[in-house]
């Protein structure tokens, strides 16, 4: 009894870090963790899922799961939830996870809780913590339905190996009559996509206060000096200054570097949830009332366009190219 079902995601032949976080945390919430893996490369990831505590795996290998958005997976996952009646279903808080959880919710009439940063068990129910209003308010929700669906934000839990064996595997066929829905015609990888933003020890992020796209060059320079990565607020991504791959925040990446340097970012709610877990925060902004200063360990009221070049010079003087 006490089954936790985790919806796994696969990237480049490996389970995503978030998937391993969910499987690991699932062990604290139930007696058994089952995973459902719908991907042509599903088999390749089963050892890693087992090693993190999954004892059962439900696998679908059709290419439809990569070629189509949401609909094929929703049918199979819904049927599985209906059959297993897990105590809880954990979904990765990604674009795909969100679309899938929404559809399963609608098919089965089950509630979906989004943006979880903590999930604990309380008797027969689960307590789900989310941060709202730019992570200034902590909300705790208690589930009161069977098999609640919970979307978890990345880096909320730690992935820990349990040393478990390969999970017992069952293949789930995709019903022939399943509507496939929207089809992916091609995937375009942006050449400037910043690698390592989520892993970087230092993140240098820019917002509207950088005035224009060309000024991101100084942020790239500073990030190079510090061995870090460049991030951005949604406002400048929406404005087309930098690609979406650089976006930090609610709909972008969640980062928890040792140092986060926010340059010309006022600190909109949706940005703060993506970076407030950083160990140390430095903020540079013209507006002394900017919400970012409530989170910062070192705040500088000033023009990022002056302070950042001066910082680059200062670091150069200290021997950093």
């Amino acid at each position: 009894m006490g089954l936790i079902l985790v919806v796994a995601e696969v990237a480049g032949g490996s389970p995503t870090p978030l998937t391993l976080e969910l499987v690991s945390h699932g062990r604290t919430l139930g007696d058994e963790v089952a995973v459902v893996v719908l991907d042509p490369e599903a088999d390749a990831v089963l050892p890693a899922l087992g090693a993190h505590g999954a004892s059962q795996a439900y696998v679908g290998r059709e290419t439809a799961y990569r070629e189509h958005l949401g609909q094929p997976a929703a049918q199979v996952v819904s049927a599985l939830v209906d059959r297993l009646h897990p105590d809880l279903v954990l979904f990765p808080g990604t674009q795909e996870g969100r679309d899938l959880a929404a559809r399963v919710s609608a098919r089965l009439g089950l509630p979906v809780l989004a943006n979880a940063i903590e999930v604990t068990k309380e008797g027969d129910a689960f307590l789900v913590r989310t941060a709202i209003f730019g992570a200034t308010v902590d909300v705790v929700t208690r589930t009161r339905s069977r098999s609640p669906l919970v979307l978890v934000r990345p880096k909320s839990f730690t992935a820990t190996a349990s040393g478990g064996p390969q999970p017992v595997t069952e293949v789930l066929p995709l019903p022939a009559e399943a509507p496939l829905g929207a089809r992916r015609l091609e995937s375009v990888v942006a050449p400037s996509a910043g690698p390592g933003l989520e892993e970087a020890k230092v993140v240098v992020s820019g917002g509207r206060g950088m005035q224009e796209a060309a000024n991101f060059e100084v942020l790239e320079h500073l990030a190079r000096q510090l061995g870090g990565a460049v991030g951005a607020s949604r406002a400048v991504v929406d404005a087309g200054w930098v690609p979406y791959a650089l976006q930090v925040g609610q709909t972008g990446k969640t980062v928890k570097p040792d140092v986060y340097i926010a340059c010309g970012i006022s600190g909109a709610m949706q940005h703060l949830v993506g970076m407030k877990g950083s160990s140390h925060i430095v903020a540079i902004n013209k507006d002394p009332d900017a919400p970012i200063f409530k989170l910062s360990d070192l705040g500088v009221v000033g023009d990022a366009l002056k302070v950042v070049p001066a910082l680059i010079e200062e670091l150069r003087a200290r021997g950093l190219r």
Partner: protein, 310 residues
């Protein structure tokens, strides 16, 4: 739902009884089409292509530049005493819907669910160019969760006869982001989410979907649901003419009974979860705040050295 929406005096009004206790006013239009008809569209209509009927979801939220508050007892969002605005993400949705119709012909229907004041965002959407609006308002909807909201909106879309739904990716107050895909599932439609480019042509929707690595090109036949990101467009400001025209556009108010949605499937009691606490998040230790007098760069460098980053 006895609320009447009054416009300028001097135009004839026609009242249509929808259901006991529910009234809507439909204004007769004497000012002709409120949208300039271009030759291309005219030709299309003549050939029997009616264009696309597009529903756009809009939500009234507390001004996101202000500080949000939750009622300490009910844990519901406090809307009184807060400036209420059209969700900025939905303004992108309205703009995207208008551009589809401007390119292919058809009409835009703005749809919202909410209390009496939520009609304000419908007027805003109509001032931007939507042709009509549907307001689902019912006291029994208070406290509805994402699934209940999706049930109501799906029923409203089905009733409207729209074949394309455009919505923001997520609301700027709740960030749940599951309503559009749940609506798609309830209607049995595909959902094309996170669109930064949207094109509709000959019954096919094609988007560029933002991805962590770049973008995917995704396609589906109509009917379909599309969610858009802030990158898709720059929403237009309503013109004075648009604001005046919006006052006489049809705004239909509907109850749960009108939509045939069972009351036990919505509202606080139907929600599959309950909020048990909402408290200020633990604050980070108060940081140091300095004014840049030319020495800030040195201070930051010293701080980075303290942290052994350099």
């Amino acid at each position: 739902m006895g609320q009447l929406h009054h416009g300028a005096i001097g135009f004839p009004l026609r009242r249509t009884r929808l259901a006991p206790g529910s009234l809507a006013i439909i204004r007769l239009r004497f000012d002709g089409p409120d949208r300039p008809v271009r030759w291309g569209q005219f030709t299309q209509f003549r050939e029997g292509t009616p264009g696309v009927k597009v529903a756009v979801f809009v939500k009234q939220i507390p001004d996101p530049t202000g500080v949000g508050r939750l009622d300490p007892l009910t844990h519901l969002l406090v809307r009184d005493g807060t400036e209420l605005v059209l969700d900025p993400g939905d303004a992108n949705g309205v703009e995207a819907a208008l551009r589809v119709v401007e390119a292919s012909g058809g009409e835009v229907v703005a749809i919202t669910m909410g209390g009496e004041r939520a009609a304000e965002v419908l007027r805003k959407a109509m001032a931007m160019g939507a042709g009509s609006a549907i307001h689902v308002a019912d006291d029994r909807l208070r406290g509805s969760d994402a699934l209940a909201t999706a049930r109501v909106l799906a029923a409203a879309v089905a009733r409207s006869g729209c074949e394309l739904v455009v919505a923001g990716t997520e609301s700027t107050d709740g960030y749940t982001g599951t309503v559009p895909a749940a609506v798609a599932e309830l209607l049995g439609w595909p959902a094309l989410t996170f669109a930064k480019v949207l094109e509709v042509d000959s019954g096919t929707v094609r988007i560029q979907r933002q991805t962590p690595a770049g973008h995917d090109v995704v396609e589906a036949p109509l009917p379909a649901v599309v969610t858009v990101t802030g990158a898709i467009n720059e929403p237009r400001y309503p013109s004075l003419r648009g604001i005046m025209a919006a006052k006489s556009k049809p705004l239909e108010q509907l109850s749960l009974d009108d939509l045939g949605v069972p009351p036990d499937e919505v509202g606080l009691a139907a929600a599959g979860q309950e909020v048990i606490s909402a408290a200020p998040a633990p604050e980070r230790a108060a940081g140091e705040l300095i004014e840049d007098d030319g020495s800030a760069a040195r201070r930051i460098a010293d701080y980075l050295a303290e942290l052994k980053v350099i």
